[in-house]
């Protein structure tokens, strides 16, 4: 048993062909779900995106430090001559699996398909795509010229917007209507032409998705002959499957972490934190919980919650506290104050009590704070059947009780929570979910007044202005100001994000480099050494 915190140095001289590699979807991210679509434009499911990312090489590959890795991208350069309004993309020589060259026409086709899909496009609106693009043209087969409707922060547009224009095989797909493409999204035969490291061989929904190496892939060759994303319906079952030899890797549920460390033969790789956070969303649009509109109440909640205890108890010590909308790892986009660990909120029970008293809340007969006859009490909805979230909620419940806030916890199916959150502001009071971020952690979809994913009624003109500054003005000044202000405002109560650990079968290596916290996999990094368990 070895606990690895860094990438294991590879002795490539001793490598051997891995044969088949079998892993669950969602590895290193969270509980898995099966692959139901291979089309990168039609699904926001992380698991489907993982599969689609194996078939299609992105225009821009974003690495774990949120920088473009041109070695793995179709683009070889991106420039913005006027610093924000127009962009010139140069494509490197690359081939589809049928030998046809990947050209600028394939990038234009991807954009046209996104436009045709409209709101059905899974990432509609992210990075301004597609509406922010005024025109897109191809001066020649190796260049794409993009003109926007207005100048914006190049870093924001390149990382969140331009990166979505993954070239698609225009010479194959253009023969089909949008509806036909929609209907073929789970048919591996439709995806027989790709430019990524792997090609789909079979998609058995509910069972597995099978891939084989793309023989014409222009990047590093694979060290295996088959790659299988095998679905297990529970994290505990994944662990059992590794022990039984059915899987090569598995997420380790936090409650089984201690047990996994003791397993003979296999070894544990602890990954960097994901680029995400858990959040308690207080509903300010519900009259019953109108008290959340007072920033002092939200700050008091953030001060009352002991994030380190949540990490210790619920995450087995594998997590990091989060106090603002830019997760601490990697620190690429952290403001100087956040980098110094200076946040306006943090675990401080006395301060929380003072804030609540200043907001006019006094203890009632039952010990629960109240103001004008309204008790400081609410119900927290959490997705059903998720042990980690249950433990986080229970920890919060105890913390809030200490300062006189009563919180009930209720489990509900995730899609029912979403339905309430999106369309029925009076049907919920607070929700505990996780939030995954794009490569550039701007908040225009989250905290701008009336934004697409702003479902709790939060609105603050200063926040709107700072978010606009972060997306429209070059440089990181706007992003720093936005994150520091959000740390004060707590539009949602930010909670820790976890570091996942992966149980790996003996003889399989390269796991750290294979997994990317942003979701994209690098299968060519996996290799085997003699002694691999089969």
């Amino acid at each position: 048993m070895a606990l690895l915190l860094g990438a294991a140095p590879a002795a490539f001289a001793e490598t051997q062909d891995c044969g088949s590699i079998v892993i669950p979807p969602g590895l290193g991210i969270g509980p898995g779900a099966d692959v139901t679509s291979l089309n990168p434009l039609l699904t926001s499911s992380l698991y489907n995106q993982e599969a689609a990312g194996l078939i299609f090489t992105p225009l821009l590959w974003i690495n774990r430090f949120h920088q473009i890795d041109y070695e793995r991208s179709i683009a070889s350069a991106v420039t913005t001559p006027d610093n924000g309004k127009t962009y010139d993309v140069t494509l490197r020589p690359w081939k589809w699996s049928d030998g046809t060259a990947v050209t600028s026409a394939d990038v234009l086709y991807a954009y046209q398909l996104i436009k045709a899909l409209g709101q059905s496009y899974a990432a509609y609106g992210q990075g301004g795509i597609p509406d922010i693009i005024a025109s897109i043209s191809a001066p020649d087969a190796a260049h794409v010229h993009v003109a926007l409707t207005r100048p914006v922060n190049p870093q924001w547009f390149i990382l969140n917007g331009l990166s979505q224009l993954t070239p698609l095989p225009q010479h194959v797909w253009a023969h089909y209507s949008t509806n036909e493409i929609w209907q073929a999204q789970s048919d591996p035969a439709f995806f027989h032409v790709g430019d990524g490291p792997l090609l789909p061989q079979a998609l058995n929904i509910g069972i597995d998705a099978v891939f084989v190496p793309n023989p014409l892939y222009g990047g590093t060759k694979m060290h295996f002959s088959r790659f299988v994303m095998r679905f297990e319906s529970a994290e505990g079952q994944e662990l059992q499957a590794v022990q039984a030899g059915d899987l090569d890797m598995s997420n380790i549920p936090f409650d089984l972490y201690g047990k996994a460390l003791q397993l003979p033969g296999d070894y544990v790789v602890t990954l960097p934190p994901s680029y995400s956070w858990h959040e308690l969303i207080p509903n300010m649009a519900n009259k019953a919980t109108g008290f959340f509109a007072d920033v002092r109440v939200r700050q008091a909640l953030a001060d009352a919650i002991d994030q380190k205890r949540i990490i210790a108890l619920a995450m087995h010590g594998l997590g990091i506290p989060v106090y603002n909308p830019v997760p601490p790892y990697p620190d690429t986009f952290l403001s100087p104050t956040a980098r110094a660990g200076q946040y306006p909120v943090g675990y401080d029970v006395a301060k929380a009590k003072t804030l609540l008293a200043a907001a006019g809340f006094l203890p009632g007969a039952d010990g629960i704070l109240q103001k004008d006859g309204q008790r400081l009490a609410f119900t927290l909805l959490i997705p059903a059947g998720q042990p980690l979230r249950i433990e986080i909620a229970e920890s919060i419940q105890q913390d809030l009780q200490q300062v006189g806030i009563a919180m009930k916890v209720r489990q509900m199916e995730f899609n029912q929570i979403l339905a309430a959150m999106v369309g029925q502001p009076q049907a919920w009071e607070a929700i505990l979910i996780g939030m995954n971020l794009g490569a550039y952690p701007s908040g225009e979809e989250l905290f701008s007044a009336g934004a697409a994913l702003n479902n709790n009624g939060y609105a603050n003109p200063k926040m709107d202005a700072l978010i606009k500054q972060s997306t429209d003005q070059p440089g990181l000044g706007g992003l720093f100001a936005y994150q520091d202000f959000a740390s004060e405002e707590q539009p949602v109560i930010f909670l820790p994000n976890e570091r996942y650990s992966v149980l790996v079968r003996k003889g399989l290596h390269g796991v750290q480099d294979f997994l990317n916290p942003l979701g994209a996999w690098a299968p060519e990094k996996l290799y085997c050494t003699p002694g691999r368990a089969n």
Partner: protein
């Protein structure tokens, strides 16, 4: 008789499907939220609902569903992106294999145990069989399944923990499929045998107490001839009724067993489509269950009629 039973069965199925259709659609949430996840925005949900045809009124959707059914179409799975008919068939085959083996084995073992229990009623072998029946009848299926996985897959490493074939093999042979069937089959058998054998044992014992057995013994007919030529035939009737009732399970599978073993059968599909509100799949499976229940009952009655011509099932 058959026509009348089929007619009343059709009415039952119509009511069942109608109820499930409306109840499923009235449940909060919806498939658009399952598909979009945290990217659910009011506009995205509206666009997806329009694409899926969920923006029409419920009665219109219901009428369309029947119209498509009468044209031989079961619809398109919202979440799995496949035509429901093809989807059902691919899962059905898996379930059929699993349950056909499990129910056949269960029936054979139930007859053996039931005969022994009936013959030795009140003596220690029957008491031992009774204890076995009670133990496994009272054990939740997920526990039995989890224990089998723990013992035979994790500790001993003799059998796979779940799934349907070895994902490492490009062309897994029949032996691989068979190995993956062992634990689910044993689980279903351990759950089914106690129920079937208990009914059958009681029936055997009851038959052994009847006058015709005493008469046969008085005429000098041997015990084995009495048991296998007379008692068995009469005692099989309750067993056939039980098997008829379990007929739908042969096709629809057990939600729990298939889920624990990650076995891609109709039970697994039913559980998933209910959870994620994949209405076309859910209603199609309910329709199938209804049809099979009616057919199963009818078959049981017909077989019972053959076993005992005196039986009148009007």
């Amino acid at each position: 008789m058959v026509t009348r039973r089929l007619a009343s069965g059709a009415v039952s199925i119509f009511i069942l499907v109608t109820l499930v259709f409306f109840l499923a659609h009235l449940t909060p949430g919806g498939p658009a939220y399952s598909i979009l996840g945290q990217k659910s925005t009011p506009n995205a949900v509206a666009a997806l609902n329009a694409r899926l045809g969920l923006n029409a009124s419920l009665p219109v959707q219901y009428a369309l569903w029947w119209k498509h059914l009468l044209q031989g179409q079961l619809g398109y799975s919202y979440l799995l992106n496949r035509p429901v008919g093809a989807l059902l068939w691919s899962y059905e085959v898996n379930t059929l294999i699993l349950y056909a083996i499990a129910i056949s084995l269960s029936t054979f073992l139930a007859i053996l145990l039931g005969l022994a229990q009936g013959v030795w009623m009140g003596r220690w072998p029957a008491q031992l069989i009774g204890a076995f029946q009670l133990l496994f009848y009272a054990t939740p299926p997920f526990f039995t399944a989890a224990m089998l996985i723990l013992c035979f897959a994790v500790w001993l490493g003799w059998l796979p923990a779940g799934g349907i074939g070895d994902p490492r093999l490009a062309h897994p042979g029949p032996a691989t499929y068979a190995a993956h069937l062992v634990l689910p089959v044993v689980t279903i058998t351990l759950l089914t045998v106690p129920m079937l054998s208990r009914y059958f044992g009681a029936a055997v014992h009851e038959e052994l107490e009847k006058d015709y057995v005493r008469t046969a013994r008085a005429k000098g007919v041997g015990e084995s001839a009495i048991l296998f030529h007379h008692v068995l035939r009469n005692a099989l009737r309750p067993l056939v009724t039980m098997l008829g009732l379990s007929f739908p399970y042969i096709f629809t599978g057990g939600v729990i067993v298939e889920s624990v073993f990650d076995y891609p059968g109709l039970g697994w599909l039913l559980w998933r489509s209910a959870l994620e509100q994949d209405y076309p799949v859910l209603v199609a499976i309910v329709l199938l269950i209804g049809l099979l229940t009616v057919i199963g009952n009818l078959l049981a009655d017909l077989v019972n009629g053959l076993l005992d011509p005196r039986a009148d099932y009007e």
